[in-house]
């Protein structure tokens, strides 16, 4: 398995969507998305629940096909019919559930679907050793690659999934809410791996609803809301607070604050905190993201 990561030879970005959209029958799940992912760059896709983030990654990952616009990989228009096809183009997706089989050992999960064969059988010694080494490169020192992957912590599992995608020659990594279920420290670890992947020259699409996670690692930010693009910025065009404000959707936040105030008691205190945050952000409306 060759895993060398090369600089893109063409000037075209690794992944480019132009005015891409997706309908499910008469439901417009996604409309007019334009997005570029280049090697050595992290593109963050931000949006609340139902914003169309999942639809977007499903299109890029080959699970669904776009119904409008174009999707190009390294300048070539594509229309993937399966995740396997996307993988063959170097686009690997690390899903929220990580696509791991909890009862199976770490090394079997690492090579699942890409087993190294030696004649009719698997080269188990090579796969064990490689798993151990690849994880060590990512900074995870596993006690035992034979332990079921379900026994690892959430952050460790995430990193196994990421290093697996990197090992198998991914040029573009799509990370679906990798920090959603993690604590502060574990999230930090995952963010570190995202930066490491960027250093290696990979294009990363980082999906999240937390601007505090997105801003430090992102180079571009795509904001989605109700299936439409709310904004597409380079890092120098936007501040974290603006991002946060956009994410939260100012007016809705204020409404929530009023509702809470009306309830009285502890809720009113929470409303007060919210208002203070809005004030601190100094953008008239907005508050921290959903977390």
């Amino acid at each position: 398995m060759t895993v060398s990561v090369e600089e893109p030879t063409t000037a075209a970005p690794l992944v480019r969507l132009t005015d891409a959209g997706k309908n499910y029958g008469n439901i417009l799940a996604l409309q007019g998305v334009t997005l570029e992912v280049s090697g050595g760059e992290v593109t963050c896709v931000l949006g609340d629940n139902g914003a169309g983030k999942s639809t977007l990654i499903k299109i890029i990952a080959g699970l669904h096909q776009h119904s409008e616009g174009t999707y190009e990989v390294e300048g070539q228009p594509v229309r993937f019919t399966s995740p396997r096809e996307a993988l063959n183009h170097g686009i690997a997706t690390v899903y929220q559930d990580l696509a791991v089989v909890p009862l199976m050992p770490v090394w079997r999960n690492f090579f699942l679907g890409n087993e190294v064969r030696k004649g009719p059988r698997m080269d188990i010694a090579f796969m064990r050793g490689t798993t151990k080494k690849e994880l060590l490169d990512m900074g995870i020192d596993l006690r035992d690659v034979d332990q079921p992957i379900g026994t690892l912590s959430g952050g460790e599992r995430q990193c196994v999934a990421i290093s697996r995608a990197v090992y198998f020659g991914a040029k573009v990594l799509i990370l679906d809410e990798p920090t959603a279920a993690l604590g502060v420290k574990q999230s930090g670890v995952v963010l570190k791996y995202i930066l490491q992947a960027r250093e290696r020259g990979l294009g990363v699409v980082f999906i999240t609803h937390n601007p505090h996670h997105a801003y430090p690692v992102g180079d571009r930010f795509l904001l989605l809301k109700r299936g439409r693009v709310l904004g597409y910025y380079r890092k120098n065009e936007v501040t974290r607070d603006e991002l946060t404000g956009l994410m939260a959707g100012g007016t809705e936040l204020e409404e929530l604050s009023h509702e809470l105030e009306a309830t009285g008691g502890a809720a009113a205190a929470a409303a007060h905190v919210l208002e203070e945050e809005v004030h601190e952000l100094g953008i008239g409306h907005g508050a921290p993201g959903a977390q």
């Binding site: 060759t2 060398s4 993988l87 997706t93 089989v101 199976m104 679907g113 890409n114 006690r143 035992d144």
Partner: protein, 350 residues
């Protein structure tokens, strides 16, 4: 990172892992509960039933075990792959009926009937698998449907064709002798007669275990049973694996059917009903998780051996055979409980 990268062997021992005794490591195997259960049951019958101690008794216990153990090999693989097959018991009978009636009616060489029967058995497996993966209906229901359909077909077609509930004797048909050698012969080792199904059973268990633990296909079996969506996402052909497993059950059902045909020369169309549960129970007693993703073929073989011991041991012990199914149920329940207990212990030890 490229092909030329030398993978350094990981350090032989990680200081964070406490040394585990070989016994503790053995206890984490899925089949260990069944093994302990088998030993207990063996000792019980050895003590209470003097005839059980004869080598010839062991031989007949192993024979009975093999006739259930052969289909249980594939049923265990299927269960590890996350599916059930309730039609396996009657598919055995269907296979035997097809081979017998085809060769008899068309006055064809016995081997032609054997091959036609194989095609039919694989087709039954394929249909089961195809319906399960295409409709997404639980295999329990799909194969419950095919179970009843095959049961009806076995009886109706046999009556239609032979005018009887059983098939005609095929022992005079050309090719019968050689087929019998393959599927139903007996030979002597040290004065003990051994049925050839025992050897086939051992061979199938070895092959299936090797496939399961040492090949990529085995990796896929564990994966599709453990989490089909995850397997699909990393490119495992989930549907093909599952259909393949159903066809493997078809193959083993065919093999068992051939044994029955060549051991008895005629086939009664109503037999085989209920055996599907014994195959499933053998797999579960052997440590296969009902939900898939975990288990062992060796365990299923031990499960079949437990069934064989109970089946024959009660006779040797001189107990009233009316109680057989009660004892069987109790034994199996006990084995499953023991199995669960051991597995929980073992998991806590990790």
């Amino acid at each position: 990172m490229s092909q030329t990268v030398e993978v350094k062997p990981p350090p032989a021992r990680d200081e964070r892992i406490a040394r585990r005794s070989p016994v503790a490591r053995l206890l984490t195997r899925p089949e260990v509960g069944a093994l302990l259960g088998a030993i207990v049951i063996y000792i019980v019958f050895f003590v209470v039933a003097p005839p059980f101690r004869e080598p010839s008794s062991l031989s007949s216990v192993l024979y009975v075990s093999s006739t259930y153990g052969i289909p249980a090999v594939a049923v265990a693989l299927l269960m590890i792959g996350g599916e059930f097959d309730l039609s396996a018991g009657v598919a055995v009978t269907s296979s035997a009926l097809v081979a017998s009636m085809f060769s008899y009616q068309f006055t064809a060489n016995m081997w032609v009937g054997v091959v036609v029967s194989l095609v039919v058995a694989l087709a039954i497996g394929f249909i089961n698998g195809y319906l399960v993966v295409k409709t997404g209906i639980p295999s329990f229901l799909v194969t419950l449907g095919t179970f009843f359909m095959l049961r009806g077909l076995n009886l109706a077609l046999t009556k239609q064709i032979t005018g009887n509930v059983g098939t005609n004797d095929v022992s005079n048909i050309q090719g019968f002798a050689s087929a019998q050698k393959v599927f139903a012969s007996t030979f002597n080792i040290g004065g003990v007669s051994i049925r050839i199904t025992l050897l086939w059973w051992i061979l199938f268990v070895i092959i299936a275990t090797w496939v399961l633990l040492r090949t990529h296909f085995g990796n896929w079996i564990f994966a599709v049973g453990g989490s089909a969506p995850s397997s699909r996402a990393v490119g495992v052909p989930v549907n093909k694996v599952k259909i393949g497993l159903f066809m493997a059950v078809g193959f083993m059902a065919w093999f068992t059917g051939m044994h029955i045909l060549f051991a008895f020369n005629t086939v009664q169309s109503g037999i085989g009903i209920g055996n599907e549960f014994i195959y499933i129970v053998a797999a579960v007693v052997g440590g296969c998780l009902l939900t898939g993703g975990y288990g062992s073929v060796i365990g299923a073989a031990i499960g079949a051996f437990i069934f064989g011991m109970a089946n024959q041991g009660i006779v040797y012990a001189g107990w009233n055979p009316d109680w057989f199914y009660f004892f069987l149920g109790a034994l199996l329940l006990g084995a499953i409980l023991l199995n669960n207990l051991v597995r929980k212990r073992a998991e806590a030890m990790r």
